[in-house]
Every structure is written in structure tokens, then in C-alpha cells.
Symmetry: C2
Subunit: 462 residues, 2 copies
């Protein structure tokens, strides 16, 4: 069996996923068949092992001896892997370290020195390895990563994601102005050449982008010259690759962009006018957008990564997610580690719920997001944001098996206190209540196993 | 050795605690001696085992063979136990379950049915046991508990805290009006008699209140008649016991109090006019207080329990902690489980930081609380709120050893990935940065051991 193929698998038991923004579907006593390419080839309700072997396998042309079977124990369930639509792998060592800073001084104090230091390959390897292990163990099956400006270090992140089996978008950071001397692209031309170098590297390790995709990454407008952004826009047109950047995170940043790009109607227009706003563009934060900007994003089919933990931690503001959703824009969740303190999308799910309540307390009562809605943002919504809505984020025939197995602790269980993680199930809870308990108190201890494209990429010990 | 005495102990290594609101003291290579009553009898800097045995023990009249020694490993540190100034033990099974409710419908939908059901002794035992295990394992050495209206069930909570060794204030809930028929004190007289019954029970198990103290607990003004509150005020005067209740959590509750008590100047005056506001009163929430009310609380030396996770979760509002502190009122932290979703004060510490940032984003930039400040609230501040500022909450000669041993994970460590908990230390972090990482990503896995009054009450396996 080669590195990235798996055998045939049958998964049995409970499957829970987003049917729509405000509805979770609960499939119990069900069967899901996944072929050797990690693709779901059957989903059937009211199935057990015997029935699957007798009726499903023959239909699929499978023989019993060739199939690995995994059945949920009582209370466990399969859930789509989380999708982190915005994360800086290179900032992992700073998770939790931000003091009282806000965006612009945070970049200079903590972020640029750390990113710059990862030109040291051994340090980069240690940091990226741990970041991938952590995010996988927290159920992140797909991550849209920012690396650093260094090509070897960025390529290493691609290699490591491929090796560990995490689906990833890999962005070499482009930044040729207003950045410190020790950490800046020399010219627009070198920035473009370096971006192409990472694209070429990924084409070698994963030519079909089955797992790893390069993503064009102008850091954000203030750190890019117009020439560089025009070049990156042209590169996008040439390659049809996705784009990621930051937008309207912080009021001072918004003011700075206005000052730096006085001829452009808005921050959003800066990207649009450089060919960087399209259906494959992921805009992180989107906290301080005007209605006209959201309309333009919707028109271009641009996507938004909501980063609630980050926005609260470094005091950026409260994104109006309900408003964005009502406007018809696709929204996913990002940890934005280390502006966000946590590598966990479950924490982002929780924070999205809490931040929506802060928006509600500001007077917009309908802003409150439900458990169903925040889980949608972390899975199916995120899949659409990274352009993989037809492949991952929920369960369906023809989709790929990017999944986590969730187990919650039982007060009456036979494991000792604490061994089953932070969630205590007493036994009388409904399934909806179990999900709420998981969302609010769960952590990586509840993510018992993780698969990407059918391959088991993480399993909890014990 | 009897149940609640311990041997002599020497603790060696790193000790970190709040010196003041905005300063943590870092004591490295230090020694702390704790006598058989759990009282700290010596704290010395620049000490190792040899020096302690040679110079400290003789001074204390201790012999080497009688002393248990515990030394921090590299990177570990002793930290004061957390103090939860507001927690409903009886709501533990509902942690994380609150939907989109706000205070008043949350009470009727989730809370009263659960609390009422704990009149079943076996259910109460299961719930309270798990609550105590959870909070201890999260480093909560002292908790100010609300139980239910049931005397046997409330007394059971006292028994269990005593047995597990958690320092606790135990409140039987008083509520004789505006509560459901199935869950209400019959008359003011029965409510007072039942309150006395719990006071008598605790006098039997812990006459000196060395660990367990009864606390007079009018649930909140809307669920208490004036007659009951007058009775409880008189009982406080008679017994000098502490009082806990809720105040100004939610705008609708504030309006309701205004309607129910039209002759009183404010919500705060309702308690004050019934003899329930004094230096031993813990007021939970205090989100929607007027300046005059805060002035009155300050004048009476009343204390405030800030419950940030709860206030965000059930959309109560954002308490202005900086303002309360500037006014000179003592503030501690409460989980307010299950209005708050988490039994962990570390989570409350984190949420206090985040909520203060939401207040700052509302325009009061100075509202932002530092790491040092939120840790103060969870320890030394909380100790003052529960009236034990001279006994617990920080390290000092004559104070009691209520302590947690904290360990953070090392990326280079010899344990496997994930076994050391959620915090990754790369090795180059300063102590201040380690503390920040713990505050933002730590959990019960980092609380390796917990002592109350010198007794080891929790130790992590593995």
C-alpha cells in the first residue's frame, strides 16, 4: 500500500454532520463505505455489519476480507474534520503570547521576529511538525496555512503536511514594503519568483494537488507594493490558484490602507483592483467592512475567514457574521493562530458562538449563532471557503473521508476519572445536548481518531 | 494521621503568585515548609534540600525523617489554588447546555428542573461527586457553592466536600416566590428553618469551619419575598455567616426587581435594606450596576464575583471590572456553572481577559486586563471575596497551603505527543511567556497535583 492510498473501509454507527447552516443531520445505525482512494462510495441508514456484508459489499464488488471495519462505541460519533481557513503555522510557538498589543504592534513585537527566525531549517522543522501534530490532534483535517517569506521553510511545511497527511493550502508570505529590514521580500520580482518556487515545489510532491495546494499569499495590503499585488493578481489569472490575505481586521490597519492607497475606493477595492478578489480568494477577519465592500465581495464570490478568538484576543473587533451570512457571503472559521491563541477549531467554534453573543449584546439580537451554525462554519462553511465544498466538510457519496471520531466521557464509564477527557455525559442527555456539551467543554481528548482522504492520520493513545 | 491532618512537608523549586493586582512574584530555587496543620511556617529564597535540612529544619524543630519533600521538575511551578467565588454544584450536568436562552428563560428551561431533580439522593451524590472531582482537578481549592433548596441534598454536598478535602462554602438556595410549584420554599419560615438545618449539619461535621462554612443564600431578589430576606438578614446578624446572591446580571432581571421592589432605590438597596449587604456578602455578576450602587457596595465592603464565561454565554452583558476595581471594590472570579459552561477557573481567567477586551473595544481602552490581573482575580482577589484573604490565595508564612502544581509540556520532552497536555514549551520562552501560554491554552492536564490545607486532594495519573 503506497503512502497515500488506503484499503477499503466500512464505518458503522453514528454520523453527525451539517445538512445546512442551521441543521445538523444525525445518522444513527448507519454505514459508510470508503474506497481505497478515500472516497465515500456508499452511505446507508439502518445498517449493521451483517447487512453491510450481505447487501452492500456485493453491490460494490468488495470481499469481506479486504475491508477494515470501524464501529462507533455507544455515544461516539463520526463528525467531519474541521477546516481551519486561516492559520499561521510559523507563529505556533507564540500561541497565547500577545500581551496587551493590537495588530500593528503585535506584528512587530512578536510575529515578525518569530517568522524570520524560521529561516533556520531545524527550528522550522520543529515548529511546523508540532503545529501539524497539534492541529491534526484537534481534528483539523484541512488547514490554509501562512508559512514565512522563506522558500525552503515554506516548502518544508508543504513536505511535512504531505508526510503527516494533512490536507493543506501552503502560502509563502509576500511582503515587500513596510516590513522590517530583516524580514521582507527584496523586490516585487523576487517575491514573485519565490512564490513561483513554492508553486513548483508543490507541483513536484503533489502534482494533482490531491492533498497539498499552493496558495498565493500577499500578507496584507499594507505590506505589499502595488507592483507586487499586480504581479500576484496576474499570477492568479495565469495559474487559477487560490489567494489568501487579511482584510479590515483592525481600525488602525484600515486607516493605514486608506492612507497608502488613496486612489482606491476601499480596502476591498485595493484587492479587487489588483486582480486579487475572486471566487478563490479567502479574506481573513473582515471585521470592519462597509456594506459596499461586502456587496463587492459577494459580487466577486470572495470568501471570508472569521477568526473570533484572534479578534477578541488582540482587540480587533467583533465580526458581524450574521450580517455577512445574510448578505450571502460564504464564511468559514480560522484560528488565526497566533493572533488567535489556540490551534483548535473547536475553540474557534466556541469563540464564534461567544463573539456572536457580544454582537447580540451590542443590540443586534438576531446576531446570536446557534450550536448548529457555528459547527457549520467550522466544517461545511469552511469547505466552501477553501473551494472544496464538493469534496469535504460533510458526508456524501463521492465526497472524501476527512473525518474525526468523537467520544465523550461517561460518568458511569469504566475508565478512571479524567481519562475520558473534559466532557461528562450522565446518560440522560439528548444527542443535541451531547453536541452542546462537546462544543462548550470538549477538546483534543474527545477527538479519538482523525482521517484525511481515508487515511488514518491521528489516533489518541489509551 | 487523621482525615484532615497531614505530615510536615517541604516544597522546593519555583513558586509563582500574585504580589498585587498587577504583579506576579516569581520565586525560584525556593523552599516552603508546611506544618501538619497545612500552615506555611517558612518561605525562603535560594534554598535547596541540603540547605533546608541543615538550617531550616533545626529552626523549626523538624527531623529529616518526618518530612515529605516535593520538588518541582524543570519548568514546573507551584501556584495558589484557584478560588471559585460563584458556582452552582447542582447544575453541573447542564454545563454547556443553554441554547440561545437568556437568564430568565434559562432558569425555567434548564436550571430549575435539574436542581429540583437532585432531591433524589443518589442522583445528587453522583452529580456532586463529579462536580467536586472536576473542580479539584482543575485546581479549584475553594468553591462558594449553591446547592439546591433540598436540605439533605445540600448537606450531602457539604459532606462530600469535606470528604474530598475541598474548601467550600455551602449554600442552601432560598427561594419562596416567583419560582415553579415543584421547586420553591413553602414559606419564609420553612426557608429559614431549612437554612438553619444546613448550618447545624455543618456545625457537626466541621465545627470550626476549618474547611466547610455555611453561607446564607437568597437565590436572588426576584425569587425571595421581603419577609424571607428580612429573616435571612437577621440570621446573618445572629450568626455572622457569609451571604451570597446574584445582582444585576441581566437587563430584564434588573427591570423585574424594579417592578417587584418599587420602594427601594435600586437593586443594591433591596439587599442593603434587608440586612444582606455587608463585608461578608458575595454579589455575583454585577454587570448592570449604577455608579451609586457600586458606591454603596464599596461603602458596605461588599464583594463582587465576576463571571465572564456565563455573562457571555447567556448574553447577560459585559461587567466593567476595571471600573469596579478602580472604585476600590474587591473582585474575584466565578465559573457560574452552568450559566457558565465550564467548571474551570482557568477558563474564567481566560474569559475575564477576553471580556475585558470586549469592554475595551466598546471604547474604554483602559479596561483591558493583563495576565497578571486576571490571575490575581482567580486567586488572591477571590480569597478576599470569600473573606479568606489572610489564609489563602497567595503564599505567605502563616497562610495555608492551598496550592496547585503546574507543569507545561516540553516539545523536547521524553513523553509522547499529547501526554503532557495542550501547552507546548519550546524552551526559549521567558517565565512570563510560559505563564501566558498556560493561561491561554492550559487545562486540567497542566494541574499535576492539588493540595488543600496541606492535604494532597488530587493528583494526575501518568
Amino acid at each position: 500500500m503506497s503512502h497515500h492510498t488506503t484499503g477499503k473501509s466500512l464505518f458503522l454507527g453514528s454520523f453527525i454532520h451539517s445538512k445546512s447552516l442551521d441543521e445538523l443531520e444525525y445518522l444513527h445505525n448507519s454505514a459508510v463505505c470508503v474506497d481505497g482512494n478515500g472516497v465515500i462510495v456508499a452511505i446507508e441508514k439502518d445498517y449493521d455489519l451483517k447487512k453491510a456484508e450481505e447487501t452492500l459489499f456485493p453491490k460494490l464488488g468488495w470481499s469481506v476480507g479486504d475491508v477494515t471495519v470501524k464501529t462507533t462505541k455507544s455515544g461516539q460519533f463520526f463528525f467531519p474534520g474541521f477546516i481551519d481557513t486561516h492559520i499561521h503555522a510559523s507563529q505556533y510557538p507564540n500561541a497565547g503570547i500577545f500581551g496587551k498589543t493590537t495588530l500593528l504592534d503585535w506584528l512587530n513585537t512578536y510575529t515578525f521576529p518569530m517568522e524570520s527566525s524560521l529561516s533556520d531549517a531545524s527550528k522550522a522543522k520543529k515548529v511546523y511538525t508540532r503545529c501539524i501534530q497539534r492541529t491534526l490532534s484537534n481534528g483539523t483535517t484541512t488547514a490554509s496555512y501562512y508559512a514565512t517569506i522563506s522558500v525552503p521553510s515554506t516548502n518544508l511545511l508543504a513536505d511535512l503536511c504531505f508526510e503527516y497527511g494533512q490536507r493543506a493550502f501552503i502560502g509563502r508570505c509576500c511582503m515587500d514594503t513596510l516590513s522590517p529590514d530583516f524580514y521582507r521580500d527584496e523586490t516585487p520580482a523576487t517575491a514573485l519568483a519565490d512564490t513561483r518556487a513554492t508553486i513548483s515545489h508543490i507541483a513536484k510532491i503533489d502534482p494533482s494537488h490531491s492533498l497539498i495546494t499552493p496558495i498565493i499569499t500577499p500578507r496584507f495590503a499594507p505590506s505589499c507594493t502595488s507592483e507586487l499585488m499586480h504581479g500576484l493578481g496576474a499570477l492568479q489569472k495565469e495559474t487559477d490558484l487560490p489567494v489568501q490575505t487579511h482584510i479590515a481586521e483592525n481600525p488602525k490597519e484600515v486607516a493605514l490602507v486608506k492612507e497608502l492607497f488613496p486612489k482606491h475606493e476601499s480596502y476591498t477595492h485595493v484587492y479587487d483592483n489588483h486582480g486579487l478578489l475572486g471566487p478563490k480568494t479567502i479574506l481573513a477577519h473582515a471585521v470592519h467592512l462597509s456594506e459596499a465592500e461586502v456587496d463587492l465581495i459577494k459580487e466577486r464570490e470572495g470568501k471570508i475567514s472569521h477568526c473570533p478568538a484572534s479578534n477578541s484576543a488582540i482587540t480587533s473587533g467583533t465580526a458581524k457574521v450574521r450580517w455577512l451570512l445574510n448578505k450571502g457571503v460564504e464564511v468559514g472559521l480560522g484560528t488565526d493562530m497566533s493572533g488567535g491563541y489556540s490551534p483548535s477549531i473547536l475553540e474557534a467554534v466556541r469563540q464564534a458562538s461567544l463573539v456572536s453573543r457580544h454582537v447580540a449584546m451590542g443590540g443586534e439580537e438576531e446576531a446570536k449563532l446557534s450550536i448548529e451554525e457555528v459547527l457549520y462554519l467550522g466544517t461545511k462553511g469552511g469547505a466552501k471557503v477553501v473551494g472544496l465544498g464538493d469534496k469535504i466538510g460533510s458526508f456524501g457519496v463521492g465526497m472524501e473521508w476527512d473525518t474525526q471520531l468523537i467520544g465523550l466521557g461517561s460518568v458511569d464509564g469504566d475508565m478512571g476519572f479524567g481519562d475520558e477527557g473534559p466532557v461528562d455525559i450522565f446518560g440522560w442527555e439528548t444527542w443535541e445536548e451531547r453536541i452542546a456539551k462537546w462544543v462548550y467543554n470538549g477538546d483534543d481528548r474527545n477527538t479519538l481518531a482523525v482521517w484525511v482522504k481515508g487515511r488514518l492520520v491521528h489516533e489518541r493513545k489509551g
